[in-house]
């Protein structure tokens, strides 16, 4: 069999599943099991890197046909390739981190953990590479289901309650709103394929608006307020899950879906005719600010980060709803930049937990003296989230602002400005507390903790945010075909 993009597509979907099987088979031998996870992650990243190369050719893969226009179909395009690259690339780092975290905290049922993790990654790949709404929906649901055991991992009442809310909201919104949306698109246009320029041009603005609302709230993973509560509740999961899934794979799958629906189902031009788009842009703006305010009130580090995520995700929704080329570009970049920033924050949060069993912000006084690298990584991640140079997080803000202005919604800039301020207010005190409060005595650190991997991993991603700042050129070159030449077919 020769090496073709189609084969690589299939491989990207199957590799994690094979890895999952391997993890199950080697459950009794932890070292081998982790080796399988790592090897799978690396192999997947290589395959996805190849896919990124091949994405300009837009290869397609149809596995099955349910009805005309309703297929199990995969199609590679730059947005998806980018998302796949982010998810698979960070999976490697996160796997390293998982090993440190899970062992450092003596977590139980680690085989199930790693298995579900691989399945989740497979689902994320499916979302990234999906070629139509139906396939997207399928993998979207698969991701919800596969991550459920991870969220409920601890198995105590609190974890179960959090996980129930998690799954309940995600399933209810997806089946109650997203799925009807998929059906409606099919009923109105006869296809659910992701098509350059969108497929909705024949649909009236009212129906289009209703559909847009269905998608905006139905894709609950995008955590647009008020369907966000699942995200803070998902924080009962072990930190590697929060780090990769609830900062990268799951939430990004949500906003990626929204972006994809907007770009390839609605089409940017059609979006301009929808009154609901303007309203939803404001909802997203409100979500940005409100979630930041909520983040302020949280003392639990992960809860604060979760609300921060809610806020940051709405940047993408906002960009998608404004739907000017630059706003969409900013939204797409935010997927990458926020992924790196937030995974850093979560991994450091986990590192602090592993090292000193501290989970509340008010307990962090002076810990920076014991964990300088961890806190430095946190600082970098926070600065990237806030959006200051020279960290990657600044670019989405630049393009979203320009996009909002050129999209005729300059007042949305106020939301972004407000969010930046709030970000400073809730993120930086954590670092300041760590570095500038007096060193606590005696040392709160648990002997031998955290393992080196628990701070190396966030350091890598933190440096990644710096690299991304300078790598913006290639990134935009890669993405811009989606938003410029293809916007108006």
């Amino acid at each position: 069999m020769s090496w073709t993009p189609e084969l690589a597509l299939a491989l990207a979907l199957i590799l994690p599943l094979i890895g999952g099987a391997g993890v199950l088979a080697l459950g009794a031998k932890p070292n081998l099991r982790e080796a399988v996870t790592l090897i799978t992650a690396i192999a997947l990243a290589i395959v996805v890197a190849y896919l990124v190369e091949a994405s300009s050719g837009r290869p397609e893969l149809v596995l099955a046909t349910l009805a005309p226009g309703l297929e199990l179909k995969f199609k590679l395009e730059p947005l998806g390739a980018m998302f796949a690259m982010v998810a698979s690339g960070l999976w490697i780092i996160n796997s390293l981190y998982s090993i440190a975290y899970m062992r450092g905290n003596n977590e139980k049922d680690q085989t199930r953990f790693y298995f579900c993790f691989t399945i989740s990654i497979a689902a994320a790949m499916g979302i990234a590479l999906s070629g139509n709404l139906l396939t997207l929906f399928f993998f979207y649901e698969a991701l919800s289901l596969a991550t459920y055991p991870l969220v409920a991992h601890k198995g105590d009442a609190k974890a179960k309650r959090g996980a129930s809310i998690y799954l309940g909201i995600l399933l209810a919104t997806s089946i109650g709103l997203f799925l009807p949306g998929v059906f409606a698109v099919y009923a109105l246009t006869g296809t659910t394929d992701f098509t350059v320029g969108g497929v909705m041009s024949g649909v009236g603005p009212v129906a289009g608006s209703v559909l847009l609302v269905l998608f905006a709230f139905g894709i609950g993973k995008a955590a647009l307020m008020p369907v966000h509560p699942w995200l803070p509740n998902a924080m009962v999961a072990p930190t590697p899950v929060s780090a990769l899934l609830h900062a990268v794979a799951v939430v990004k799958a949500g906003v990626f879906s929204i972006l994809k629906v907007v770009v390839y189902i609605f089409g940017a031009d059609y979006m301009q005719t929808l009154p609901a788009a303007d309203v939803l842009a404001w909802v997203a703006g409100g979500s940005i600010v409100l979630a930041s305010v909520f983040a302020f009130t949280k003392d639990n580090l992960k809860a604060r980060l979760a609300y921060s995520t809610v806020s940051q995700l709405s940047y993408i929704t906002l960009g998608a709803m404004v739907a000017s080329p630059l706003a969409l570009l900013g939204a797409a970049l935010q997927i990458v930049m926020h992924a790196y920033g937030k995974i850093t924050l979560f991994m450091t949060a986990g590192g602090i937990y592993t090292g000193a069993k501290k989970s509340e912000i008010s307990q962090l006084n002076g810990l920076g003296h014991y964990m300088p690298v961890t806190f430095a990584a946190f600082l970098i991640g926070a600065l990237s989230i806030i959006g200051v140079p020279p960290f990657g997080g600044v670019w989405p803000k630049v393009f979203l602002m320009e996009g909002a202005a050129s999209g005729g919604q300059p007042w949305l800039i106020v939301m972004l400005i407000g969010s930046t301020l709030l970000n400073i207010g809730y993120l930086l005190p954590i670092v300041i507390r760590g570095f500038f409060k007096p060193k606590p005595e005696p040392s709160p650190m648990r002997p031998g903790q955290p393992p080196a991997l628990a701070w190396i991993a966030p350091l890598i991603t933190a440096l990644g945010t710096v690299a991304l700042f300078f790598a913006i050129g290639p990134l935009i070159d890669f993405l811009s075909p989606v938003f410029t030449t293809e916007m108006t077919p």
């Binding site: 140079p389 202005a405 913006i472």
Partner: protein
């Protein structure tokens, strides 16, 4: 030598400072850091001299975004030079201090300020603008007290707010004009207004000024020197670049020049007094920019140049006092000239510069602005500026010198400031005198060529009268104990708006929001459990619908359904 330096042609001086700063952060040895703090500015200065031709260098092509990192022209040259000079002076001044955090931060702060001045487009400007915010914050955090941390956070928030507002305005500007280029902007559009507000936030526009007296007094002794030098002057540069000749700026500048008078008189913290004096000084520059024209811009530039140095000198003096006595409260100091006579000398030189005494740099700079206002027939502005310089500048300078070094001897017998501090102060003091006497040196670097003689009899005479008059009033007020100074008081300023009112509103809002959410949650919870109970009663195995029905029930259903079908069939059309 020229060959060696010419290699640097086209290299932005900013990189030397930033690189030195990063290295300083990385180097654990204090000696190495101190060397870097000296070498960075020297390298930057070399690069400044090496690049002779004006033009755009250091174009950083990031693909779709092209950053012009080094635009050298008449305007940017002045500011860059003074920033480099002051960072060198600060390096000397701070030689005694061993603080890794602030050493690196000060260098990067200076470097990013230089970088911002050289930015040819607004995106680059924004990057360096934000970098100045980030790099300067550790200078406040380093104090370590909770109060300083809060102040630092407020400071940082406002600085970053200014940055993102700049970005927002620039984004709107770019979407309107299609270009990120940073040139004259004007207030003709919303984008322009937002940009002006963003810059104004850093320049200390009225009501946007509150962070200056809030943060500066809380920085470290060395930190306040650096803080006073860069941020606000950078904003003045941006105003001069983008908003020269805006009439609104004259009004704004006048307010800035005048309102601090009350605070200068009542504030007890001498660094806060200086901070208000700084706002007044900025007001002069803003007026000059508002007046515009070659003379106005030159006046703003000259004032920025001289002002950076003499304000830094004043803050250095107070830094030395703070180092030795641990306080800069007017009510706790006095008679220090006895133990710190050298510092006192520098304080007097600085004060004379601040007051604009002839032969000092303040005089040659300030007369430019007054002349510009006069030439452009802004007579009211002219009069008010004279008033402001009497009421604010001079009283603040007198106040600092008097209360710290003379006045009531509180028996403080401390060591004289370290030699290295003296050296730093001496450099600044030298520049104050040198530029005042050899004024063509100052005028030579200004953006526009001009033929201007500051030392005319009228000017000198008038200025001397002004000075003496103020001193008389000050002396009389002291003599009759009319000076309204009280220890341990907080003077409210616009920061009350967010520190008290805003804070309280936010708390109230958060509390109300929490209540609301709780109430909603309660009602929702009650409703859900009610529905659940009802549903359970209905559907559960023991519930109404699931009882093991007697077969008769079933028969009944069957009959009902049969009747239903028959009825429907009966009424159906054939």
């Amino acid at each position: 030598m020229t060959d060696a330096v010419s290699i640097l042609n086209g290299v932005s001086p900013a990189w030397f400072l930033i690189a030195a700063g990063l290295l300083a952060w990385a180097s654990p040895r204090s000696e190495l850091r101190k060397a870097l703090m000296m070498l960075g500015p020297i390298g930057a200065l070399a690069a400044w001299f090496a690049t002779g031709e004006t033009g755009v260098y250091g174009v950083l092509d990031l693909g779709p975004v092209v950053l012009e990192t080094f635009r050298l022209d008449g305007l940017s040259r002045v500011w860059a030079l003074v920033f480099i000079l002051i960072s060198f002076i600060n390096a000397v001044y701070a030689l005694h201090e061993r603080n890794r955090m602030t050493d690196g931060a000060a260098l990067i702060y200076a470097g990013s300020a230089v970088g911002a001045v050289f930015a040819g487009d607004m995106l680059t400007l924004f990057f360096f603008w934000e970098l100045t915010a980030l790099a300067s914050a550790p200078l406040i955090f380093a104090v370590g007290t909770p109060e300083a941390q809060r102040a630092g956070l407020r400071y940082l928030a406002i600085q970053v707010l200014s940055g993102v507002m700049l970005l927002g305005g620039a984004a709107m500007w770019a979407s309107q004009t299609g270009s990120w280029a940073f040139d004259a902007i004007g207030t003709g559009s919303w984008a322009g207004i937002i940009l002006m507000l963003a810059i104004g936030l850093k320049a200390g526009f009225p009501l946007l000024h509150m962070w200056i007296p809030d943060a500066y007094p809380k920085a470290t002794g060395v930190g306040s020197v650096v803080l006073s030098a860069f941020t606000t002057k950078l904003a003045i540069y941006a105003l001069a670049r983008g908003f020269a000749g805006e009439d609104a700026l004259i009004v704004i500048g006048l307010v800035m020049a005048i309102f601090p008078v009350f605070y200068v008189i009542t504030s007890n913290d001498l660094r806060q007094t200086l901070a208000y004096a700084l706002i007044n000084q900025l007001g002069f520059m803003v007026v000059a920019i508002g007046v515009g024209g070659h003379l106005g811009i030159n006046g703003a530039a000259a004032n920025a140049f001289a002002g950076v140095i003499y304000m830094a000198l004043m803050f250095m003096v107070l830094g030395a006092v703070l180092l030795r006595t641990g306080t800069v409260k007017a009510t706790e100091l006095g008679g220090l000239y006895k133990s710190m006579p050298i510092t006192t000398l520098f304080a007097i030189i600085g004060a004379l510069s601040v007051m604009g005494a002839p032969l000092f740099s303040g005089f040659v700079a300030k007369t430019l602005i007054l002349s510009a206002a006069h030439h452009e027939h802004h007579d009211l502005a002219y009069t008010l500026l004279v008033y402001a310089s009497a009421g604010v500048m001079e009283i603040s300078a007198l106040k600092v010198v008097w209360f710290a070094f003379f006045g009531k001897d509180r028996g403080l017998r401390v060591k004289e400031a370290p030699q290295t501090m003296h050296l730093g102060m001496a450099l600044a003091a030298f520049l104050c005198v040198f530029l005042g006497v050899n004024y063509p040196a100052l005028y030579g670097v200004l953006p526009f060529d001009m033929d201007y003689k500051p030392y005319k009899l009228a000017s000198v005479y008038g200025q001397s009268q002004l000075l003496l008059g103020t001193m008389l009033v000050f002396g009389l007020a002291l003599y009759f104990k009319l000076f309204p100074l009280k220890s341990d008081r907080t003077i409210l300023d616009a920061d009350w708006l967010y520190r008290r009112f805003g804070d309280a509103s936010a708390r109230w809002g958060a509390a109300m929001g929490q209540l609301l959410f709780d109430a909603i949650g309660k009602v929702l919870g009650a409703f859900i459990s009610f529905v659940r109970l009802r549903l359970f009663n209905l559907f559960s195995p023991a519930g109404a619908l699931s009882k093991e029905f007697p077969s008769g029930m079933m028969a009944l259903w069957t009959a009902i359904m049969l009747a239903g079908v028959v009825l429907v069939a009966y009424f159906s059309p054939v």
